[in-house]
Symmetry: C2
Subunit: 301 residues, 2 copies
């Protein structure tokens, strides 16, 4: 089963209490695909500039990520983000965001990417997410992310995009903001009213929650003591989640979504243990499976 | 098995988005004992003033709470707290705190209270908690709560009290503050180093986590849509937790603690559905059991 992700490909500069890096491979689609490729062939769609070279492609390809739809914009520069993490690493400040080649990005999907059975619309302009959704008519399961910026400045477009996906994956504060509803469960039900049949709230250090019409599932995060740099944890969560879904035939029922969240949680726990997605570059599937088993033990009573 | 709780008995005045009340029966020991008495005979220890009358005693006794150790301070006024909740009901401001009879409170336990097998030291001055702990030598399981005030102004005394309990129950932000450690798991392990063999972090709307030397358990909160007034949710959680423990013979192992947390979570979910502990006044045990079963379904994958 193939999986397509559209989103950002970036260089990140980060400062953390334990050190800093000025040029990390990052971006939502990168974090996502490095995790998802553990489970299913993953095609990454997004633009890069001249500064994106063989070294970066090699990282993606070594994980089996299919890079044919990475669009090289000649003369352009790759998206750049810089941030500084606090001592409490759950808090950060954005120092700089340069859209660069992302500013004029219009996704052009190859036939292979369009034929994906599972599609993830990572956090980009909602109108672009919608265009990609329309190109992927064969997809049997489509999920999307977004962010506070689009909730503020492209609210109607975002609502329209949400109407056309199966699953909305958002930070819980964004879900509350989107629906203007401070209670998470009510907020999720308002989002379900827009069209998706599942809402997954990412809750940072606390874990995540799945809300459907007839059910609720809450999963604590993996009890990590060694958080080095958490950029991309949410995208890595989505990568593990959607990768697992793409690896399973048949309907995406609640049981599949629950287990998929555990795979997403396990992948995210590795992401935060290193800079960027570095901890996942050489990760074995068995290491992920071991953490999923641990999450299962951590959540039973 | 008998359970003793020492803590505050109070009148609360609260303002919420859905209404206000100027005289609610409250206080940590009250919320605790109304929940705990669902599971085991519970003795409440704390001071009241002349304004605390038959009406209040009747509420406690109707639930089977044993009130012999409620100390009536002639000429005194009962502890009073006033607060205002925000539209996001997870946030509140304290408007007024009058210690009143609590100011000179020195717990005097009856022989029956001292003989309790299970003891909960609700949030009061750590020195007083310590005195009570020393009076209850027969207790096979002792847990305690505290708050940011004591972490700030009575830090050493608090650490000394923690050394003499089996289980520390704290808000996760307080646990991080106590140990000066922003990572929850590290913070909990620092607290375990002080002596307790279990730490339970209360995480508000997210749920709770149990950290022991060799394990972790995370439990999401009950997915409540109807939060009326959450004062005392943490004390009610502790009441369900300790009540369940008191109702079980034998060693308090990790499996017992996990199930006890589910009972605490279920009790807390009822607490937030009404003003004060009112929703628990006429609650049936079967209603709690039903929510525990639901929590079990909500946490499996």
């Amino acid at each position: 089963m193939t999986l397509t992700v559209v989103g950002s490909i970036a260089f990140d500069a980060v400062e953390t209490p334990s050190g800093s890096r000025d040029r990390l491979l990052g971006g939502s689609a990168v974090h996502f695909s490095i995790a998802a490729s553990q489970f299913a062939p993953t095609r990454i769609v997004g633009p890069v500039g001249d500064d994106f070279g063989e070294e970066e492609y090699a990282i993606l390809r070594r994980r089996g990520v299919l890079t044919d739809d990475v669009e090289h914009v000649a003369g352009g520069k790759t998206f750049f983000w810089a941030g500084r993490y606090h001592r409490d690493i759950n808090h950060r400040d954005t120092i700089q965001t340069d859209l660069n080649v992302f500013e004029d990005f219009r996704p052009k999907l190859s036939p292979a990417s369009r034929d994906a059975e599972v599609l993830f619309l990572a956090n980009i302009q909602p109108e672009l997410q919608r265009e990609v959704r329309e190109q992927c008519r064969a997809a049997r399961f489509v999920a999307m992310d977004s962010m506070n910026l689009w909730i503020d400045i492209a609210h109607e477009a975002l609502l329209e995009t949400i109407r056309h996906v199966d699953c909305l994956v958002l930070n819980d504060s964004e879900l509350k903001q989107l629906t203007d509803e401070p209670n998470l469960i009510r907020a999720a039900h308002k989002a379900l009213d827009l069209g998706p049949h599942a809402v997954i709230a990412k809750q940072g250090e606390y874990g995540s929650a799945l809300i459907t019409r007839d059910g609720f599932f809450g999963l604590s995060s993996y009890p990590t003591t060694n958080i080095v740099e958490p950029t991309g944890a949410g995208d890595t969560f989505a990568g593990g989640l959607m990768g697992y879904i793409a690896s399973r035939p048949g309907d995406v029922d609640a049981a599949t979504l629950r287990r998929a969240m555990a795979y997403g949680t396990a992948c995210a726990s590795f992401n935060v243990e290193g800079f960027g997605s570095e901890r996942l570059y050489d990760l074995e599937r068995s290491e992920i499976d071991a953490r999923v088993a641990e999450l299962e033990r951590n959540s039973c009573f």
